[in-house]
């Protein structure tokens, strides 16, 4: 009796050890730290859904070169201290191959050094310039840089002969980074910022602040930089106040839900974005057409909600990583080198051309100006 128990235990232990070692040989662990809940959940939730979808799809096809992907998604709730804890956990304990995320700039900046020390590839889905400037060896990011986005807006403004503007921004990392870039680039572009206001990301009515700005008749246009529902409120309040200046939004407007929320007030809004939002309207020969149509269709059929550019950032991160692994095999250092030298990768945000000095890889042409017409996104043409 006793002997059989011992035998069983040994067998069990052996099979366990075997399965563990087999698992190690076959799966590539990819970690993700995303703000699936909390104040930044409109970023993290579609990102997490996108990653789950992609990993499932890839594993159904047999993984990369026979290696299955194991995706470990951690919900940081937008808290930097959790992102720090998770990053260390993923690097040391799970020994992940790479980390995708975090969703917000604040979190990314706090784990930049940790990933650098842990020699783990980080593919951030956050926008801030400081993530890739100064360049850290292991840190990449997939969304367009704020500076490119601001430049695109300013060019359109110049074409429309607008030189005096007001800036509204929300008090999140996204809003503050955009506001900073606008203030930095305005003098070089010959644009004068007459007023700047920062509102709470949870604001429910902004008619008072809109009234204050509208009273200044010199203002020719407004740039609103935020990523939350409040940006739809800005639109409504401005139009309700009879203030009919052109309104420019940031790329944070790239979610059809905000257009629905603002209704007719969203008509004519001009904003910069990747081409994901107009995937089906792109010319068939456009290099991104195939990628964009496939992603938006897959996402929309699977999750019954409109795809947003935020989910696209996670898509790009995942696909870039997969391409790197395909090229260089399951070796962290080699994959890092492969990503750093990757050229002409077609993603949802644009065509990525990485280099040792550019860990973002997107050019100015990745940003296009869109506008809202009849409740839909269309390309903006002057």
């Amino acid at each position: 009796m006793k002997r059989s128990v011992t035998a069983t235990i040994i067998m069990l232990a052996a099979s366990l050890a075997l399965s563990v070692s087999m698992a190690c040989a076959e799966t590539i662990k990819i970690g993700a730290i995303l703000a699936m809940t909390g104040p930044a959940s409109f970023l993290g939730a579609p990102e997490a859904r996108t990653l789950e979808m992609l990993a499932e799809e890839l594993n159904a096809k047999g993984g990369i070169g026979g290696n299955k992907i194991e995706l470990i998604i951690k919900d940081s709730g937008g808290n930097p201290e959790k992102a720090i804890s998770f990053a260390k956990q993923l690097i040391e304990e799970e020994k992940v191959f790479a980390i995708i995320g975090p969703s917000t700039s604040g979190e990314t900046l706090k784990i930049k050094q940790i990933c650098e020390d842990g020699k783990t590839i980080l593919l951030s889905c956050a926008a801030a310039e400081q993530i890739v400037n100064p360049v850290a060896k292991y840190v990449f990011k997939t969304p367009q840089k704020d500076s490119q986005v601001v430049q695109a807006i300013f060019e359109t403004m110049k074409a429309n002969k607008i030189s005096k503007i007001a800036v509204l921004a929300s008090n999140t990392g996204f809003g503050q980074a955009g506001k900073g870039q606008i203030e930095k680039q305005a003098p070089e572009s010959g644009i004068q910022v007459l007023a700047t206001e920062v509102y709470d990301s949870k604001a429910t009515d902004l008619s008072a602040i809109v009234a204050k700005l509208a009273a200044n008749k010199e203002i020719q246009a407004v740039i609103n930089w935020s990523i939350e529902p409040a940006q739809a409120i800005v639109l409504k309040n401005a139009r309700q106040a009879g203030w009919n200046v052109p309104i420019y939004q940031s790329h944070g407007f790239g979610n059809i839900k905000y257009v629905e929320a603002a209704g007719v007030a969203a008509e004519g809004v001009i904003f910069p974005a990747g081409r994901l939002l107009i995937a089906d309207k792109l010319a068939d020969k456009h290099p991104q057409k195939a990628v964009l149509v496939k992603y938006t269709k897959d996402y929309e059929t699977k999750f019954k909600e409109e795809a947003s550019t935020f989910g696209g950032h996670a898509y790009d991160a995942f696909k870039i990583l997969c391409r790197g692994i395909e090229q260089a095999g399951a070796n962290k250092e080699k994959v890092r080198d492969a990503i750093e030298n990757m050229k002409g990768f077609v993603g949802t945000a644009g065509v990525f051309n990485f280099s040792p000095t550019d860990h973002n890889g997107l050019g100015q042409d990745s940003v296009t100006m869109l506008t809202v017409k009849g409740g839909n996104f269309v390309e903006y043409k002057k």
């Binding site: 409109f42 509102y199 709470d200 949870k202 009515d205 008072a208 009273a215 739809a232 409504k236 905000y258």
Partner: protein, 296 residues
């Protein structure tokens, strides 16, 4: 400041103020019958908006709102029956923690039911850019709906407390619970009723303001803090004082925009609350002697 700008600020202030006031009144109703502050009051407002939006897929707007209000009243009653009714004279600290816990749970449940996105009811009249002119200012007719509905609610509540038997019973509980029990009033039922009532008015407010402010799973906390501020500012327990304090706070917030950056708006209103708490804890319009008699 031009007249136009002035009236624009004024109307914005009244809109904020009346919303805060309704949440504040919700606090007061429950506080009066139970002596506890329901930290989950903001969640009733959120639920009202969210449920009405879901209902609106199948029902016409007025029916969807009625259904949402009734459902939230039911939820209010359930909350009271499940978490509060059977506790034997709980301490204030315990009640604060329990209602905070309820608020967290309701919010998280809403997150997992409705997701993180924003939703809103359609405008009752016109669309997003329809406006009416009042004193040179332009406002959405929805603002008038909010002001109108909330005013009717406040009036109806005061009539209810003054002239109906149930209302008088609740008043009696507020004045002296032991004496009310001796008169044959079931104080426990009155407490349930007060939860239903404040859940109902919260939900209705959540519906009428939804087109303006949008509904999202986490709007409750912010509203609760403002409503709370208003309830204390006016003096805990008095609905009319809450309305006055709500309007005051709303106007301060909207006019403060013209002098200080918007980023400090909340810090200003909370500092005002602290100042009131330190200098006049019984509120601007409250009675000090009455406040001292309240059991804590």
């Amino acid at each position: 400041m031009t007249l136009e700008l002035f009236s624009q600020y004024l109307l914005a202030g009244v809109t904020y103020g009346i919303i805060y006031a309704i949440v504040g009144i919700g606090f007061n109703i429950i506080y009066n019958t139970t002596g506890i502050i329901n930290f989950a009051q903001g969640e009733f407002v959120m639920l009202g908006g969210m449920i009405a939006i879901s209902m609106h897929q199948w029902l016409p707007l007025p029916l969807a709102i009625v259904a949402a209000v009734l459902l939230v009243m039911l939820i209010g009653a359930l909350v009271e029956i499940l978490f509060i009714r059977w506790l034997d004279r709980p301490s204030v600290l315990r009640m604060i923690i329990i209602t905070i816990g309820i608020s967290i749970l309701v919010r998280e449940a809403a997150l997992h039911i409705w997701g993180e996105g924003v939703r809103s009811l359609p405008y009752f009249v016109g669309n997003e850019i329809t406006t009416v002119r009042i004193m040179g200012a332009r406002v959405s007719p929805q603002v008038l709906w909010v002001i109108g509905v909330c005013t009717v609610m406040v009036l109806a509540l005061s009539l209810f407390f003054k002239y109906t038997l149930q209302g008088k019973k609740m008043q009696a509980c507020a004045a002296n619970r032991v004496a009310a029990t001796l008169c044959g009033i079931s104080t426990k039922n009155m407490v349930t009723l007060s939860f239903m009532l404040s859940a109902g008015i919260g939900a209705l407010a959540g519906c009428v303001m939804s087109p303006i402010t949008y509904s999202q799973y986490d709007i409750g906390t912010g509203l609760a803090i403002k409503g709370f501020t208003v309830a204390i500012l006016g003096g805990l327990g008095s609905s009319m004082a809450a309305v006055a304090a709500g309007l005051l706070l709303g106007l301060i917030e909207s006019f403060s925009v013209s002098v200080v950056p918007l980023a400090f708006q909340d810090a200003i209103s909370i500092s005002l609350l602290l100042a009131i708490l330190f200098l006049r804890p019984h509120g601007l319009f409250g009675n000090k002697d009455a406040a001292d008699l309240k059991e804590f």
